[in-house]
């Protein structure tokens, strides 16, 4: 094969024929088109008429050019040109196929896997041994084996959500003995050590690198600055402007995950990073669980958010103030000063506060509460609230019956309290004792100058010792705590202002509040704090950036966590420790992204560009077309064109494809078409084969409905969930194809609105032949990904008395092309019970919003225009029966959508019993 740039020729010698073109030109020029002989009786009238202008006998130049092009196309076509001819690797010796398989590969993993398959095919053709390894896996011994054995590993090859371990592999390659050639599928990111590994591989044999020239985006962990959440987006290439849309995701009030806010990051030309800020109300901000760059599908485009972004809401309650205007003496002044920088303070009446459900309530010198308030507060604490109380004159003066135990106080108080170090008292002001081990304050330094002059005193009590978490040097309790349900009550035995002690003036006060988890977690300043701790992964990111809850991964030590570098032993995700959660993200705070740079002389190829495109057929086709045009033109020139023209024109038009099928448009015409009758609709997946089958299936089902029932559907419509209005359709058939993109945020909103307003989506994963217990298919995973954003109620397998089993036909099986798995519908309410003598429960549950199954119903329903089935179902008459049942299922579904739970009404019981033969 001879190559000229990107084009290669299989038979280059034929190109010499092009030299003959000039000769052909001269020959053709000399021969005019042959005259046409005609019988013409009126010739007598012509005799003596001369041609006015002596037109040349030669062929017109454009006709010549056309013929030349035709012949040139013929010669070129026969010489077998191929775009991107696959230049074979040196075809001997073993071949090592390396794939980075990092998070950056996840988006294009299918293409990479196909390319690896091609490489294995090539190796098999040339009889080479192959070893296949991913660089994100731990280096192991390279084992060169027969290609067909290696190919079996290919489907299981998955990218990992961390960077390739290049230095480990460099070592491993250096140790390998034999020489081999390498094909390296790179993720295109400049990981440290890439050049070293490339050099090590080049020493062993030839190295070819396959890369997709794409821009990879990543997000850095968020920071909280001046009331906004700031995070940086990175990209590998800075050659053009780009906009990356970043979404903050978290639970909505109902608990299902939703997009809370979206901000676009704009990269200027030449910039590889862009900062964006989310300015959100505290309520929303606290709900954020992760940030995600939309449409990227990689682990680096998702950052998990841990407690560090969380700002606690603290409700402050003081006794009704009678000292208006004395700000510095306000019992809450120092609390406000201490809390405001790191928490959101909620003011208001007691009732309003509890409604806002703050994390912490601080009560300064509040002695008594109304009984209802007290009960509400106790319930709030038992649900996990933290109540912090400060003493004061009122509390000290409160006439608490010594026999009763105030549940909102950790200890029983003696009436009065004590005063030391004052003008009218003995003794010096008391200092704080060092905090004992095991208390929340352990390790805090006690400043000398902090003294207490007045305090309330606890009644001695057997439980007192357990509840003291800070005391004075003389052993009297200063801070006591009592757990209550999931929460606790903490009492400072001094005031929250500086009247009784100067504790609120000191920095210790803030630290103590922090330790009490009154304040939100600050980011870990010092990773050494993590030493000796153990962390359990709670949520782990996949390479595609999907968050998965896990409970089977081994724990990670604090030291490992402190490195912040993700790897096989520490995948990115959320790690739970004792009292807080830490997020580990793919890109650490100081990370940068850059495109890979290869050592000079490395051969770099595209991944998909290496598919061969033979051009011969196109050129020969062009030549044929040119000759046909020449024929027409010659006929036109010699006047033989009439009559033939019409036929040829028809033939040419017949070659053009028929106009595209009815595609839904967002205009009135679409609305009219969709509402002029009952229209069954299917969701366009973008996979034309699946869409065609769905359309044919719904057409078949519509015909059956027309023939057998009073429903007379119009022609089914394919809808684009992104652009089309859904509310016209009673039923959406949604075949799941793993090629389809996830719906956008707007589309999800539309789908949820559709589901809530009585629409029904029939999800069909079409995989009942493959999927079984414990084995997930790609369609199943796709369905999970799609359904994550949908408002789907709890589901259950169709119970035998579900209204679907009797809306039109009495059915117990719901087969499609496959008669496999059970199908799932909305769960019936828990209280429903079967009454005596009734064949079904009394369920007034409305229409199930989703039906999920995998039996490939559309294929069973699909018929062509003549009503002939398009796909084989089962075998013989059993197959026909199965198709019939599939049609009956379809009829029942449509009936269910249109009539709701009508057949669930008990009034039908006698008739149904009669039909059931009971």
């Amino acid at each position: 094969m001879v190559t000229l740039g990107p084009i290669g020729f299989v038979a280059p010698w034929l190109l010499l024929g092009l030299l003959a073109l000039p000769i052909l030109w001269i020959l053709l020029r000399a021969v005019p088109p042959a005259p046409l002989r005609r019988r013409f009786p009126a010739i007598a009238l012509l005799i003596g008429l001369r041609d006015e202008d002596a037109e040349t006998d030669r062929t017109p130049w454009w006709l010549l050019l056309l013929r030349m092009l035709a012949v040139a196309g013929l010669i070129l076509g026969l010489s077998g040109p191929v775009i991107n001819p696959r230049v074979d690797l040196p075809s001997s010796g073993p071949l090592l196929i390396l794939a980075d398989a990092s998070w950056a590969d996840a988006r294009t993993w299918e293409a990479r896997r196909d390319r690896i398959g091609n490489l294995i095919d090539d190796a098999e053709r040339s009889g080479r041994q192959v070893a296949l390894a991913t660089l994100t896996a731990t280096p192991g011994l390279l084992e060169f084996r027969a290609p067909e054995l290696v190919r079996q590993e290919l489907p299981g090859l998955q990218p990992n959500p961390w960077s390739p371990m290049l230095s480990d592999w460099t070592k491993e390659i250096g140790n390998a003995g034999a020489s081999f050639d390498t094909a390296w599928l790179s993720d295109g990111i400049d990981h440290a050590g890439r050049a070293d590994l490339a050099r090590a591989l080049a020493e062993k044999g030839s190295l070819t690198v396959y890369e997709i020239p794409q821009t990879t985006f990543g997000l850095l962990p968020p920071r909280f600055e001046d009331g906004t959440i700031t995070l940086s987006a990175l990209r590998t290439r800075a050659d053009a402007e780009a906009v990356l849309s970043v979404a903050a995701i978290g639970p909505d009030p109902a608990g299902s995950e939703t997009v809370l806010a979206t901000v676009d990051a704009s990269f200027a030309t030449g910039e590889t990073s862009a900062d964006i800020g989310f300015s959100l109300p505290a309520e929303l901000r606290n709900r954020i669980t992760r940030f995600e760059a939309t449409g990227q599908r990689s682990a680096a485009s998702v950052v998990m958010v841990d407690d560090s972004l969380r700002r606690r809401e603290i409700g402050l309650i003081a006794a009704s103030g009678d000292r208006e205007g004395l700000e510095l003496l306000s019992p809450l002044h120092y609390l406000r000063q201490a809390l405001a920088p790191n928490a959101d303070i909620v003011d208001g009446s007691f009732d309003d506060l509890l409604l806002a459900n703050p994390d912490v309530i601080v009560m300064a010198d509040v002695a008594t509460l109304a009984e209802a308030e007290s009960e509400a507060l106790i319930k709030w604490i038992e649900d996990g609230g933290l109540l912090v109380r400060f003493a004061g004159p009122r509390l000290a003066a409160a006439n608490i019956d010594p026999g009763t135990d105030d549940p909102l106080l950790p200890v029983r108080l003696r009436a009065g309290g004590r005063s030391v170090g004052g003008a009218m008292s003995w003794g010096d002001p008391k200092q704080l004792a060092p905090f004992p081990e095991g208390t929340p304050f352990a390790g805090l330094a006690v400043p000398e100058e902090v003294t207490v002059t007045t305090q309330v005193m606890a009644q001695p009590d057997p439980t007192l010792a357990d509840r003291v978490i800070a005391q004075l040097t003389d052993g009297t309790p200063l801070v006591t705590r009592k757990p209550m349900g999931a929460g606790s009550v903490v009492l400072f035995h001094v005031t929250a202002n500086s009247e009784w002690s100067n504790l609120p003036l000191s920095g210790l006060f803030v630290q103590m509040l922090e330790r009490l988890a009154v304040l939100g977690m600050r980011p870990l300043d010092d990773m050494t704090e993590l030493a000796g701790t153990t962390w359990l992964p709670a949520v782990v990111l996949t390479a595609e950036g999907r968050a998965e809850r896990v409970d089977t991964l081994p724990s990670v030590t604090g030291e490992r966590l402190a490195t912040g570098v993700v790897g096989a032993d520490m995948p990115p995700g959320l790690y739970a420790g004792q009292d807080r959660k830490l997020a580990v993200n793919v890109l650490p705070q100081d990370a940068t992204l850059a495109a890979a740079v290869w050592p000079a002389g490395t051969r770099v190829e595209g991944i998909s560009a290496s598919v061969e495109h033979p051009l011969g057929g196109w050129l020969l086709g062009f030549a044929a077309l040119a000759l046909l045009t020449d024929l027409l033109a010659t006929m036109g020139l010699s006047g033989r064109f009439r009559g033939a023209a019409a036929g040829l024109g028809l033939a040419v038009f017949a070659l053009f494809p028929a106009p595209a099928p009815l595609s839904a448009q967002t205009d009135d015409a679409f609305a009219i078409a969709a509402t002029s009758g009952v229209v069954l609709a299917h969701v366009l997946t973008g996979d034309s084969r699946v869409d065609d089958t769905a359309a044919a299936g719904l057409r078949g089902l519509s015909d059956v409905l027309f023939l057998r029932t009073s429903i007379e559907p119009a022609e089914p419509i394919g809808v684009d969930i992104e652009s089309d209005e859904l509310s016209f359709f009673p039923l959406l058939y949604w075949p799941i194809s793993d090629a389809q993109p996830l719906p956008s945020r707007d589309a999800y909103a539309k789908l949820n609105r559709y589901l809530r307003s009585g629409g029904l989506i029939l999800f069909d994963t079409r995989d009942a032949d493959r999927a079984g217990f414990g084995s997930a298919t790609s369609e199943g995973r796709m369905l999970q990904a799609i359904a994550r954003g949908l408002d789907i109620p709890p589901l259950e397998p169709v119970p035998s008395d579900h209204v679907l089993t009797r809306t039109f036909y009495l059915l117990q099986d719901f087969p499609g092309r496959y008669a496999g798995r059970e199908i799932w519908v909305e769960a019936s309410p828990p209280g429903a019970a079967q009454s005596e003598g009734m064949p079904f429960r009394n369920l007034n549950d409305g229409v199930t919003p989703v039906i999920i199954g995998g039996n490939d119903w559309a294929s069973a329903w699909a018929t062509d225009d003549l009503g002939v089935p398009l796909f084989r179902v089962g075998r013989g008459s059993a197959g026909d029966r199965q198709r019939e049942i599939a049609f009956r299922f379809g009829v029942n579904v449509v009936m269910h959508v249109l009539t709701g739970n009508y057949k669930s009404d008990q009034v039908h019981v006698p008739a149904l019993l009669d039909r059931l033969g009971q």
Partner: protein, 290 residues
């Protein structure tokens, strides 16, 4: 070669819907023959004219006994005196007429024969005497004559172009000439002159093919006459179109002028027109001339 019985059948079919065509009767004593044209006086004929009292000179067998029995005197049954018109038909059978531009169309000869024979049948039905101009078929009455004339039409003329015979059947006859008139125009004029001299009037019907009318040709073309004796080559046929049409118009003008001068009528029929239209035109022409 046209199948004579078939041609007759088709002609009958075409002639059926029209009312009987009565050629104009002219008072020409020499050619008075018993016919269907009443002379408004008693004489020889088929239809009843009057009863008159018998006079002694009347032959006894002419007395109408049925009428005479109702009265005392004898009556004679007199019939209206009727005459018939003689019509001479000539259809061009030359090679030039055996041309059709497309498969779906009849040749000019076919259409000419059809029209001529349909007219013949109408004339015969009206009691006229019809004969062929060029052959020995004498003018006769009766349906059998149509078969005779149809047989005559089947005879092909080997010549390139046909010329109407310059002979007339009888004096003061009607003449129907059907041809494309692409041949020698002088011969046609001579024939008209001869017939007119005999006191005959007539109709010229030019039957043309649509191609001859429109000249829809382009490109390099060699035109050949039907029997391939004349050729004309052109490199751009389209350029000839205007001049051809001009010549065609000139020829028609000349034919029409000479027809008018002799009191004749000139008409054109295209083979892509309905034959009924042509027959209707013939009928109207003869009606108008009456």
């Amino acid at each position: 070669m046209t199948d004579a019985p078939a041609l007759r059948a088709r002609s009958e079919q075409l002639a059926a819907p029209l009312p009987a065509l009565l050629a104009r009767a002219e008072h020409l004593s020499a050619s008075v023959v018993l016919g269907d044209h009443g002379r408004r006086r008693a004489g020889l004929g088929d239809t009843f004219w009057q009863y008159r009292s018998a006079i002694p000179s009347d032959d006894a067998r002419r007395i109408d006994w049925r009428r005479s029995a109702r009265s005392d005197t004898s009556f004679v049954h007199e019939k209206e005196w009727q005459i018939a018109q003689t019509v001479g038909v000539w259809v061009d059978h030359s090679a030039s007429m055996r041309f059709a531009s497309s498969r779906g169309q009849p040749t000019k000869a076919d259409r000419a024969q059809l029209l001529a024979l349909a007219a013949t049948i109408l004339l015969l039905r009206g009691g006229e005497r019809v004969g062929c101009l060029e052959s020995a078929t004498p003018p006769r009455r009766g349906n059998a004559q149509a078969t005779e004339i149809a047989a005559q039409f089947g005879v092909e003329d080997p010549n390139e172009f046909g010329t109407p015979p310059a002979a007339s059947l009888t004096r003061a006859a009607r003449v129907l000439l059907v041809s494309d008139f692409f041949g020698d125009i002088a011969a046609t004029e001579a024939a008209i002159a001869t017939a007119a001299k005999n006191g005959s009037t007539g109709v010229l019907l030019q039957v043309v093919d649509p191609q001859e009318e429109e000249f829809p040709f382009a490109g390099r073309t060699i035109f050949e006459s039907p029997s391939n004796t004349i050729r004309h080559e052109t490199r751009r046929a389209a350029a000839l179109r205007d001049r051809y049409l001009e010549r065609l118009a000139q020829r028609r003008d000349r034919l029409e002028a000479s027809a008018k001068a002799a009191g004749w009528t000139f008409g054109i029929h295209r083979t892509d027109q309905s034959p009924a239209a042509g027959l209707m035109w013939l009928y109207q022409t003869i009606e108008a001339a009456r």
